[in-house]
């Protein structure tokens, strides 16, 4: 029969896992804004997850877990910059200062943005969706896609860029419309 302490620990584990699972995507997006590198962002999010667990006892339930995690993430980004030669072209501390706070409130609307993104992707022409599918879901490099399609790497990059710009414009439009309707 599990002891009371063991039961309490399991509850704490469950609470932490539930909270972390609920913010993981937004946390990744937040770190992505600070480093502009998805692989580096993934590494940092892993480090942040460990720190959040280690400091979970300090977390007060009345706090916002996501905002608390963002504070930890900012610190881990700074540490990662110092440690990793991968961050060979890091942003300046002034730049991070400018965007870090504002990014938290924008990322908090990530669910609405994701919904808008979903709609905008489905409004794309099929061959544009296929290109995004190859690049992001199948994780093919631009070189591989260029080879597959018989086009230059630069042409594929330009196409992907135009598709992304079109999707961004669509998202902004949908969010504006939703805001006006509200």
């Amino acid at each position: 029969m599990p002891s009371r302490t063991q039961g309490q620990n399991e509850d704490r584990n469950e609470v932490f896992v539930r909270l972390l699972a609920g913010i993981q995507r937004r946390l990744f997006l937040y770190v992505m804004v600070l480093v502009a590198d998805p692989q580096e962002a993934e590494e940092i999010v892993q480090d942040v997850s460990v720190v959040l667990w280690q400091r979970f006892e300090d977390f007060r339930p009345e706090e916002d877990f996501f905002r608390w995690a963002c504070g930890v993430a900012r610190h881990e980004v700074m540490k990662h910059r110092q440690r990793s030669a991968r961050a060979a072209r890091p942003f300046s501390p002034e730049f991070l200062e400018q965007i870090a706070d504002h990014a938290v409130s924008v990322v908090e609307t990530a669910d609405e943005r994701r919904e808008a993104l979903r709609e905008c992707l489905h409004e794309l022409q099929p061959h544009h969706r296929e290109l995004l599918n190859q690049r992001y879901f199948q994780q093919m490099s631009t070189e591989q896609i260029a080879q597959l399609r018989g086009k230059s790497v630069e042409a594929i990059r330009r196409m992907l860029h135009r598709i992304r710009m079109a999707v961004l414009k669509c998202i902004q439009q949908k969010l504006r419309t939703a805001e006006e309707a509200a």
Binding site: M32, D37, R86, R89, Q98, A103, L132, M140
Partner: protein, 570 residues
């Protein structure tokens, strides 16, 4: 002042470059300038969020119908049914009633069919059918499959059997769980959360929040409890090494042990008799990710799979070890602080070449010339064969001060007071500038240095290779030396080819240090050592070149971001 369209496009293109690893420091500075305004900041954040969502996981957005969309579709059809039904109630006549009833029956049938299909779809989504896609290939490295067709992006379906003759391949499922397979291996995909490993090695890394991934082997079932772990299967046994979290080891034989839970840092072996034996943990010998070209890990993979590999020190663990592939033994590589060294010098570790490995610092004190500093030395003697090749990946940091008598040893041995062997060392260049050095050899204490054409520049990473053939009868050795400037994306060049007096004595191996005539530790090298590898053969230049190619990614250096080009390319 609001941003014009060129600035907006330039900002997004700069972000593209950075996200794809093509950006330069100049690009970063330009981007930071564009982001100074509130509009620039807003655009930057929104665009990066878009890229982030796409990188996080587009499958849920593009391919698998969203539950809300399915619900909307059902609602739309139900609504259509309702409208059809109610329209027929407006004018009640026998004929209309008949048509109305027929319409209702049709609409109801349609609803039932659609609902049935939706329900079947839901079941399909949660319980993948035979042949449904389970994962996507996300990387391959030097992979040779028995059945061609596995490429990055290709799907893996339930029921598929992967036979990987050699190399590495990795797949990721839609939750983000990744498994990396090392050949020779046979892997059958059972279901979305389980595989059967018939032979070979696999590392499973579960996505956060996931657990209960099952790896079946001929000897045991390994059930993950939300973590990462490595499994190796041979005809004799299954070995499990837990990399993080814990796993449950379940045994299929009812008369054997019930099972065991293993935690991080623990390893166990299960044989055909079902007995579980604790074994030393060697999780670091499994490949947890696909090496990327232009990285030390890619080079190391090739080195480890060379048939002549003999010794390897990779400095990845903070207790360095020299791994002897022929005997399977390891001996410690210990930091050595030289006498006369200032007291605050201790072993230091830093990021290695390419940022994806770890390197050990070798340090040179700024006083007492060649006898102050820190280097590394094997705890046990190394006995050199008549023919061997040494490779070393290192960085030169420049001499701490101008000292024409400075010697920085990269690889050295010592046998007694008179016989020392500087397999590879650096001395100040002819210019005497502290930021330059020349590579040399010395195998006899009574001879002069054999000077090579190899030049080192401070701050640069290098691959050095020394091919040695010992002629003990003549007390001489033939040496061919190669050098490649990795930082400058240089070519592999032969910088020395000739005979030197002396042979290579057996003894402790000095890495980043040497030995002086008074049996003391001396000649620290100013820089960092990432990898040291020995082969028990005179390697051909093509072999060294092949491995060297994997240290350079051949990425085209990013230039200035071009102005937007509106020419369609579709």
């Amino acid at each position: 002042m609001p941003m014009n369209s060129e600035e907006r496009t330039a900002l997004c293109q700069l972000v593209d470059a950075l996200v794809e690893g093509r950006g330069t420091e100049e690009d970063v500075r330009r981007l930071e300038e564009l982001v100074r305004t509130p509009e620039g900041r807003e655009l930057y954040i929104e665009y990066v969020l878009l890229l982030g969502e796409l990188h996080w996981g587009t499958g849920g957005l593009l391919d698998v119908p969203d539950p809300r969309m399915r619900a909307e579709f059902s609602a739309i059809t139900a609504d259509a049914c309702e409208k059809e039904c109610s329209a027929d109630r407006v004018k009640i006549t026998r004929r209309l009633l008949a048509w109305g009833l027929a319409g209702m029956a049709t609409a109801l049938s349609l609803c039932v069919v659609l609902l049935w299909r939706w329900h079947a779809f839901r079941q399909w989504e949660t319980t993948p059918q035979q042949g449904s896609q389970v994962a996507t290939c996300v990387g391959i490295f030097e992979a040779d499959f028995e059945t061609p067709g596995y490429t990055v992006g290709s799907p893996l379906k339930s029921g598929d059997v992967v036979r990987l003759r050699s190399g590495l391949a990795a797949w990721r499922d839609r939750h983000g769980t990744t498994w990396t397979l090392e050949g020779p291996a046979t892997l059958q995909i059972d279901e979305a959360q389980g595989v059967t490993l018939g032979a070979g090695r696999i590392v499973v890394q579960l996505a956060p929040g996931c657990h209960d991934f099952l790896v079946k082997t001929p000897h045991a079932r390994v059930v993950d409890r939300g973590t990462s772990f490595a499994v190796e299967v041979t005809s004799k046994a299954t070995c499990v090494h837990v990399l993080a979290g814990k796993v449950a080891l379940q045994l299929p034989r009812p008369d054997g042990e019930a099972g065991r839970e293993l935690r991080k840092g623990e390893a166990a072996r299960v044989g055909p008799d079902g007995r579980v034996v604790t074994i030393p943990w060697h999780g670091d010998r499994f490949w947890t990710q696909i090496p990327k070209k232009g990285s030390v890990t890619a080079w190391r993979y090739l080195a480890l799979h060379d048939p002549h590999i003999w010794l390897l020190a990779d400095f990845e663990q903070e207790t360095a070890a020299l791994y002897d592939r022929t005997s399977g033994r390891t001996c410690a590589v210990l930091p050595v602080r030289m006498r006369g060294t200032f007291s605050d010098v201790s072993a230091q570790w830093e990021v290695g070449y390419g940022g994806q490995s770890q390197a050990a610092r070798a340090m040179r004190a700024t006083r007492d010339g060649n006898s102050g500093g820190l280097g590394w030395q094997s705890e046990e003697p190394v006995i050199f064969p008549t023919r061997f090749t040494a490779e070393i990946i290192f960085r030169f940091d420049g001499w701490p001060d101008e000292s024409p008598e400075a010697v920085g040893s990269l690889l050295a041995t010592r046998q007694d007071a008179d016989r020392c062997g500087f397999l590879l060392a650096a001395v100040p260049s002819e210019t005497g500038h502290p930021s330059e050095a020349t590579l040399v050899h010395l195998l006899s204490a009574t001879e002069n240095w054999a000077q090579t054409r190899g030049r080192l520049i401070a701050g640069h990473w290098y691959l050095g290779a020394v091919i040695v053939r010992i002629d003990r009868d003549q007390n001489r050795s033939h040496i061919s030396t190669y050098l490649q400037d990795l930082t400058a994306h240089g070519k592999l060049e032969k910088v020395f080819d000739g005979w030197v007096s002396g042979t290579v004595p057996s003894g402790p191996l000095g890495i980043g240090k040497g030995f002086d005539a008074r049996l003391a530790h001396a000649y620290p090298f100013p820089g960092a050592i990432d990898e040291v590898c020995f082969y028990n053969e005179e390697m051909k230049e093509e072999s060294i070149q092949r491995r060297a190619d994997f240290l350079i990614s051949h990425a085209t250096p990013a230039g200035a971001i071009p102005l937007p080009n509106q020419t369609p390319e579709e």
